[in-house]
């Protein structure tokens, strides 16, 4: 048995890591896993850097930000798979929601709500009120990029016209209630829990922004993976099996039971259920776990777009350094999963199901569309 320590954050999208333990998939792959629940992302990063843990549930942009010198080092990290797609929601205070609606019907598209947001920002400026404050769980997070992209689509300059702060997800609801922040983006089930408690209303969720949005990945210390190549594949396989189990509709109740345990996410059953229905979270190993190089480049592109990073880096090399589609194929092929032929795909622009070349059979992918119609192609 290979000893292995894996850390996770209390979120629904840690499901594969939790399911693999609950159903004994680690054991059957020859891994003796100790799970560690962490309260913050900085700790996961630092513990990976110091070798106090071997693998973790991490925000997809984290290893790139760290490798590019944004914040403290994380050590060399590889990501053999994604841990699903979607799962985040944006919640705003009842007050802001009422302002956006202004008596009329709130436009349900993101472009529509972003224009209403811009109108509210302008009103506050005219009346000498402070900027709207939005919270994200980490500076280098998909949440931050989604909110900025949304605001910009309404004609706002997110850097100057909105104030951003970092707040732990478990405390975001209280800060909305207390009027400290006007809204936040967080992984499920925290926005759903906040809405159930009457602390605000969900404005949109990941699939409204991007129907198949990348979010968390499995981060493994490169040194550990190099010393334990077979265990790295075994770990990936255990999590892919967890994905097969978790995405089967018949296992839904059991999935919620696993997530709701105090030691896992520790949120109310109702909130978890609402989140699984509403946040578009998907664990299908065939369509939502491949570590697409195009995702890695999109994330780094966002860092450049928002002025966090200069464009003078070899993004292709860095993407391939961290994301390891080769390891995914090695783990997935013997399980009978179809393996994409290419490492990159066009992101966005697919309004319905579409086919990508794969072996032994092509994969039918779900729609892959960004709210603004944007299409991201790797040069």
């Amino acid at each position: 048995m290979t000893e292995l320590k894996i850390a996770y954050s209390p979120l629904n999208d840690a499901a594969l890591i939790l399911v693999a333990e609950a159903l004994g998939f680690y054991d059957s792959e020859g891994l003796n896993v100790t799970l560690i629940r962490e309260a913050n992302w900085s700790n996961i990063r630092d513990k990976l850097a110091y070798g106090m843990i071997d693998a973790a549930h991490i925000l997809a942009p984290m290893p790139f930000a760290a490798a590019l010198g944004l914040g403290p080092s994380m050590g060399r990290i590889i990501a053999p798979m994604a841990l699903g797609a979607n799962g985040n929601s944006v919640l705003v205070s009842a007050k802001l929601k009422a302002r956006l609606e202004d008596g009329g019907q709130l436009d349900s598209t993101l472009m529509g709500s972003a224009r209403l947001l811009a109108r509210e920002v302008e009103r506050r400026r005219r009346e000498g009120l402070g900027r709207l404050v939005f919270a994200v769980p980490f500076t280098w997070s998909p949440h931050h990029f989604v909110l900025r992209h949304w605001a910009a689509s309404g004609g706002l300059d997110p850097e100057r016209q909105i104030q951003w702060i970092v707040v732990p997800p478990s405390r975001m609801a209280d800060m909305v209630k207390d009027g400290v922040i006007d809204g936040f983006c967080s992984g499920s089930p925290w926005p759903q829990a906040a809405q159930l408690n009457g602390h605000g209303e969900i404005l949109f969720s990941d699939p409204d922004y991007w129907t198949l949005k990348p979010e968390k990945v499995l981060g493994v210390r490169a040194a550990w993976a190099e010393a334990n190549p077979e265990a790295t594949i075994a770990l990936t396989r255990a999590l892919l099996r967890a994905g097969q189990w978790a995405s089967a509709p018949a296992h839904r109740e059991d999935l919620i039971r696993i997530l709701a345990r105090t030691a896992s996410v520790n949120a109310p059953w109702k909130a978890i259920e609402l989140a699984l229905d509403g946040s578009g979270l998907t664990f299908d190993p065939q369509t939502a776990t491949f570590p697409w190089i195009s995702h890695a480049k999109w994330f780094m592109g966002q860092m450049v777009r928002w002025g966090m990073l200069s464009p003078d880096h070899d993004f292709d090399q860095l993407a391939r350094h961290v994301y390891r589609p080769d390891l995914w194929r090695e783990a997935a092929a013997p399980m009978g999963l179809d393996c994409p032929v290419a490492d990159e795909k066009t992101e966005g622009g697919q309004t319905t199901g579409w086919e990508i070349p794969a072996k032994p059979h092509n994969i039918i992918m779900p729609a892959n569309q960004l709210f603004d119609g944007g299409i991201f192609r790797c040069a």
Partner: protein, 200 residues
């Protein structure tokens, strides 16, 4: 020295926070130390309490918030000290390299806290100093390049020596009461306008 030192301790575990506070008091015997213990970090604490140092438990969810402030908000940089739950000198060294001012290893032992706090404070001062130097060096380099290019324009257009070109720049800066770098930038902007088009 009579200066008061404000130390903010964030730890959901109050008993442990008390131990840390004891260690800080023991260390700062000569200085007056004001210690505030909180279970959670709030932004207003920076403004109201104005801590000289923040000590935060590693497993506090608020760590991410404080770290984001460290990275983004240059106005309120404070040394931040954290706890790790395993003793490993190598890990501590790496943490210091990584830019964290200090990791308290085995933070439960009040005796060890004092020396680490001192190191953390010194380390923070050095890092801040280096960052300021670096920023200044970058700004100086950019200014030097602008001035050199403006000198080149003057030398070519008015047939001046390098020394005279510089003197002309300096004189204009003094006459107009503006930084020499700004004058140089103006010259470059105008010279672009006067260039014959070469893209035809």
């Amino acid at each position: 020295m009579a200066k008061t030192v404000n130390v903010l301790i964030i730890d959901p575990d109050e008993a442990r926070a008390e131990q840390v506070a004891e260690g800080v008091r023991a260390d700062n015997g000569a200085q007056e130390t004001v210690i505030r213990q909180e279970r959670h970090f709030e932004l207003r604490m920076l403004r109201d309490f104005d801590p000289d140092m923040v000590i935060i438990a590693c497993e506090s969810p608020d760590r991410d918030m404080l770290e984001a402030l460290q990275v983004a908000n240059e106005q309120v940089p404070r040394p931040v000290v954290m706890f790790v739950d395993r003793s490993d000198d190598n890990a501590t060294a790496k943490a210091l390299e990584a830019g964290v001012a200090g990791y308290i290893v085995d933070g439960f032992n009040p005796k060890r806290i004092s020396s680490i706090l001192t190191v953390a404070a010194q380390r923070f001062a050095v890092t801040q100093g280096l960052r300021k130097d670096l920023d200044k060096a970058k700004a100086d380099l950019a200014a030097r390049k602008t001035i050199d290019r403006a000198k080149g324009v003057l030398m070519a257009s008015r047939n001046l020596s390098e020394d005279d070109a510089y003197k002309a720049l300096r004189k204009h800066a003094m006459d107009t009461g503006r930084p020499i770098q700004a004058v140089a930038a103006d010259i470059l902007a105008v010279s672009d306008l006067l260039k014959p088009g070469d893209s035809q």
